[in-house]
């Protein structure tokens, strides 16, 4: 079998589309030509027989993209048969589905997986390998590769496309692509299509530096140019060959061509076939990543601890109620405060971690692009979460108990995760640094048995509480030094040190500074604690990690203790001078809560609502209607009022909380939800409780939500003519289910006539109008 790591250069074939065009076969579905024009397809394969590997003409052959008249299997069989005429090894070509993955698009990870599982099933017994190519979304590539690996034993070569910014179209850097694809265990990885060989050079260099796997490069024939109204490729064979040779000199193992390259090009580079691959220097790194952010654990990296319910009442409640929005807000806050990685833990007895943890991971990754640390004691929950995670996560954790390691390491190996090992065993945390270091060695050795390089292991030398075991604090620090000498990176849950002592912050930040100096890489702490974060930033400066003090200066250039006090005093006076009415009118969200509390000292809650909040909103509303004030300000005011309303609600008797519920949804097929989001914040500011179902909502989900919440109103939004029918069906389904609810519709292409025609009760043109109409309808009940 052809092996990418045999140390010899392998040559793949070249462009297929351009050859089809040359034979007059452009247009139609290219994959069907395997059956309808087998002779011509074979002639193309023959013309590439100088290569080592033939790629089947099956780029779009997956159940999501291919919508033709043949079965996938029929085409697959013919395609492999056609490629066999080249006399070379045959790799089955696997391309993207052409659909956008969730959360931005509609294709779920599971559906993508199933599609590629079918591809594996039709090709695994007839081809010699897979070439997964031209992917631009790392998440789709992960779904595809997992499906191929789990449903076949053939080698997998995978290439992605990059644009001139050096990122894939979904924003992954070469380092992220290399780390992720290496982690999930492809046999070779690289880049195809995208650009010409010259432009690809910097990307190739970065790929080579980010993995020890063989690198594939299949460039286009330069950049296309418009000539006499025709798109043409103009790079010469000589130049193409010259750049390929340069890449081989850097250590590339597999070469070939993409758009615009012809048999002549491949003939030229086939002279490199079988030559020894140039050896390259590679130092493994401890790196985790999301699709867009990579984090090499080196120097100082902060892991945010706030998404762990232990001791956090609000988070516990959010987890129990599946209120994932609360978690997203926490994630964003930590990111904004400078965290590099976020710990995610959903370990509560009341919840099913196996299903909730992956949901949380998806939801957080939708809004926050930091790499995540998946924290659980349940291996099934860990596997489910790691599987749907987009990128390479950190797993927290294993200890040196064989049973634990035997359950976690296979998961880490399969998905390429980095594992945090705790320097403890079934007897607990050993007293001395020496013993903890021995445990670390055992963890590393066991990982290596599972084929996990020590660069994918980190060790937590475990913090003890100074109040209970004062003399052992230094053992933790000594262990950091010893463990670092084993060639692994370190972590510590720092704030445990001060438990039970006064002025904990002082101890925490002092201990943090001590730990950094002894070799701590990743403290797990609260990134919202500015003193702790400040200590980290100061350490980076003083130890020379923060080159030219750039980051420190950027963060603290305007800082002075007096200025900090002055700002606080100023803010206080300003707040004191402003009224809640002005605050809402000017859209000053930050002061709204405090001012509301002030007002509530002298007024009863309903008076605050009617005489202050609603009055301010109405005044802002009429300024908006008369064109004296605009959308951004209207929204700021609504947000300030919403904050105030939340405070008032606490003072109201429970049964009179809000005016009622409103369920909002952007209808099935429609993915634009800006208008709906604006409606949400505005009607919330008027005291309605909103259940937001999001965008592209299935009809049955709308019906279910209406049945469950029994809202006063249902608001549906559609932006374009093509989704109005879906709105109509949604209304029909809600009515057919016998739900008594006032249905409001809105969106760019709707008007009162359309609204009536599709069976809605009310059409409102904007957020303000729906707020008023809701009140009007309510008062008529």
């Amino acid at each position: 079998m052809l092996r990418a790591n045999a140390g010899k250069v392998i040559v793949f074939d070249g462009g297929f589309g351009s050859e089809l065009e040359r034979l007059g076969l452009s247009g139609g579905i290219p994959e069907e030509l395997n059956i309808t024009a087998a002779d011509k397809i074979q002639s193309i394969h023959r013309s590439y027989s100088c290569a080592d590997v033939a790629t089947t003409n099956t780029f779009g052959l997956n159940p999501i993209k291919y919508r033709g008249k043949y079965s996938l299997r029929e085409i697959a069989v013919k395609a492999v048969e056609n490629a066999r005429v080249s006399g070379n090894a045959v790799f089955f070509d696997v391309g993207p589905t052409g659909a956008m993955m969730q959360p931005m698009g509609e294709l779920s990870f599971e559906k993508a997986y199933d599609a590629y599982k079918q591809v594996a099933e039709i090709s695994r017994d007839i081809a010699d390998g897979f070439i997964v190519e031209t992917f631009s979304d790392l998440y789709e590539a992960k779904a595809c590769i997992l499906a191929l690996k789990e449903n076949s034993d053939l080698p997998i070569f995978a290439t992605m496309t990059f644009d001139s910014t050096g990122r894939t179209l979904t924003g992954s850097t070469p380092e992220i692509v290399a780390n992720t694809l290496t982690g999930i265990g492809v046999d070779a990885l690289g880049v195809n299509c995208s650009l010409g060989p010259k432009e690809l050079m910097p990307i190739v260099e970065r790929l080579l530096a980010s993995t020890d796997l063989p690198i594939i490069v299949q460039p286009n024939r330069g950049l296309p140019v418009l000539e006499n109204g025709k798109t043409v490729y103009k790079l010469s064979c000589d130049e193409f060959e010259e750049y390929i040779e340069k890449m081989l000199d850097l250590g590339v193992s597999v070469i070939g061509g993409c758009c615009g390259t012809t048999p002549e090009f491949i003939e030229r580079i086939s002279r490199f076939s079988g030559k020894d691959v140039v050896k390259r220097e590679y130092t493994p790194k401890t790196m985790v990543n999301s699709a867009n952010v990579s984090c090499e654990i080196d120097g100082v990296k902060i892991c945010g601890e706030r998404l762990n319910p232990t001791g956090k009442k609000a988070l516990k409640e959010a987890l129990i109620n599946h209120d994932l929005d609360h978690l997203v807000d926490e994630a964003i806050k930590q990111q904004d405060c400078g965290a590099d990685i976020l710990d995610v833990n959903a370990g509560l007895p009341q919840i099913d971690e196996k299903t909730l943890l992956p949901d949380i991971i998806r939801k957080i990754q939708e809004y926050c692009d930091l790499p995540l640390q998946i924290d659980s004691s349940d291996p099934a929950a860990i596997e489910n979460a790691v599987r749907v995670y987009n990128g390479i996560p950190l797993i927290n954790s294993v200890n040196s108990e064989r049973e634990v390691m035997d359950r976690i390491f296979p998961i880490a190996k399969k998905y390429g995760a980095v594992v945090l090992g705790l320097a403890m065993d079934s007897h607990g945390v050993p007293k001395t640094a020496q013993e903890r270091c021995e445990i670390a060695k055992r963890i590393i050795a066991t990982a290596e048995e599972y084929g996990i390089n020590r660069s994918r292991i980190m060790i937590d030398t475990l913090v003890v509480t100074a109040s209970a075991e004062q003399q052992l604090v230094k053992e933790t620090l000594r262990a950091l030094e010893m463990v670092r000498k084993l060639g692994v990176k370190t972590a510590l849950g720092v704030s445990n040190v001060s438990f039970g002592l006064p002025y904990r912050q002082l101890l925490n930040r002092t201990f943090l500074a001590m730990a950094f100096e002894r070799g701590l890489n990743m403290p797990i702490l609260n990134p919202l604690d500015s003193e702790m974060m400040g200590t980290a930033r100061a350490y980076e400066l003083l130890s020379g990690i923060d080159v030219n003090s750039q980051r420190y200066i950027e963060l603290y250039k305007d800082f002075s203790p007096t200025a900090a006090v002055q700002t606080a005093v100023k803010a206080k006076t300003e707040t004191a001078a402003a009224t809640l009415y002005d605050c809402v009118k000017q859209g000053l969200k930050t002061h709204a809560a405090q001012l509301t509390k002030e007002e509530l000292k002298t007024k009863d809650p309903m008076t605050v609502v009617n005489d202050v909040l609603i009055k301010a909103l109405d005044d802002v509303g009429s300024l908006y209607e008369s064109g004296k004030l605009f959308l951004p300000q209207l929204i700021s005011s609504a947000e300030a009022a919403k904050t105030a309303f939340a405070v008032v609600t606490e003072y109201l008797p429970k049964d009179s909380e809000a005016k009622g519920k409103v369920v909002l949804a952007t209808v099935k097929g429609d993915v634009h939800d800006i208008g709906k989001n604006i409606v949400k914040v505005v009607i919330e500011s008027y005291g309605w409780q909103v259940v937001d179902l999001g965008k592209d909502v299935e009809i049955e989900d709308v019906v279910k939500a209406v049945q469950q919440h029994k809202p006063f109103a249902l608001g549906l939004s559609a932006l374009m003519t093509t989704t109005v029918p879906s709105m109509e069906e949604t209304i029909k389904a809600v009515r057919a289910a016998g739900c008594k609810v006032n249905i409001f519709v809105g969106g760019a292409v709707l008007n009162a006539e359309t609204a009536e025609r599709i069976g809605a009760d009310y059409y409102t043109k904007d957020a303000l109008e729906i707020a008023k109409k809701l009140d009007e309808v309510l008062s008529n009940v």
Binding site: G229, G587, G627, L631, P632, S636, E639, G669, T722
Partner: protein, 209 residues
């Protein structure tokens, strides 16, 4: 993007936000400048096109016939700011609503600005971009553009409701060798167009006060 270019696209952003023929304010002005600088860091602009001497079949109907009358060829094109821009806007809707609406408007204007700039490099005898959905045409025609030029290559997908994703994407038809002017003719929004009611047109450069 330099200062004068930012000033050039500002009126368009204000227009998308609903400011027409009225005074802008400093608060929004600062926000717009900030949004554009963030877009410059986030957006991954990509443009794909193919040119045709013979008009593709799906354009053999009105309003395209009229639009292409007298043209020496046609370019089909698609362009996007990439999925990161969509993500940026989505995230802002959670953290800062007013900035989110400004960012949304700014991204639309920024995409047009970059596309116009790119098209200048393709030739100086090109018409404006006529996008399916404009004046009497239907968005269903997008599927033909997708079949022909494969905007998937630059990361644009088309869903069953004919929405392009990333949301900040466009696809269009350009007449070669023909100057033409945009008009409101055949527009589905003509009856209750907020721009016309505000004394302007969606495609017209309007000065804001």
């Amino acid at each position: 993007m330099n200062y004068s270019d930012i000033e050039k696209i500002k009126p368009q952003i204000y227009k998308y936000l609903g400011f027409y023929g009225v005074e802008t304010n400093e608060q929004t002005d600062v926000l717009i400048t900030h949004c554009i600088s963030q877009l410059e860091k986030t957006a991954q602009f990509n443009y794909i096109y193919m040119s045709y001497e013979n008009t593709p079949d799906f354009l053999q109907k009105e309003p395209y016939i009229d639009f292409l009358q007298g043209a020496g060829g046609v370019i089909l094109c698609a362009m996007t700011l990439g999925i990161q821009t969509d993500k940026l806007i989505e995230r802002l809707f959670r953290t800062d609503m007013s900035k989110a609406v400004v960012m949304d408007a700014a991204a639309s204007a920024y995409l047009e600005y970059l596309s116009d700039g790119y098209e200048k490099t393709l030739g100086d005898d090109l018409s404006f971009r006529f996008c399916p959905g404009y004046g009497g045409s239907t968005v269903e025609d997008l599927k033909y553009i997708f079949e022909l030029i494969h905007p998937e290559k630059i990361g644009i997908t088309l869903n069953n409701s004919n929405f392009m994703l990333p949301a900040k994407s466009m696809a269009g038809i350009i007449a070669i060798g023909k100057k033409s002017r945009k008009s409101c003719k055949g527009c589905i929004m003509l009856k209750d167009c907020k721009f016309l009611n505000g004394g302007t047109k969606c495609y017209e450069q309007t000065q804001v006060k």
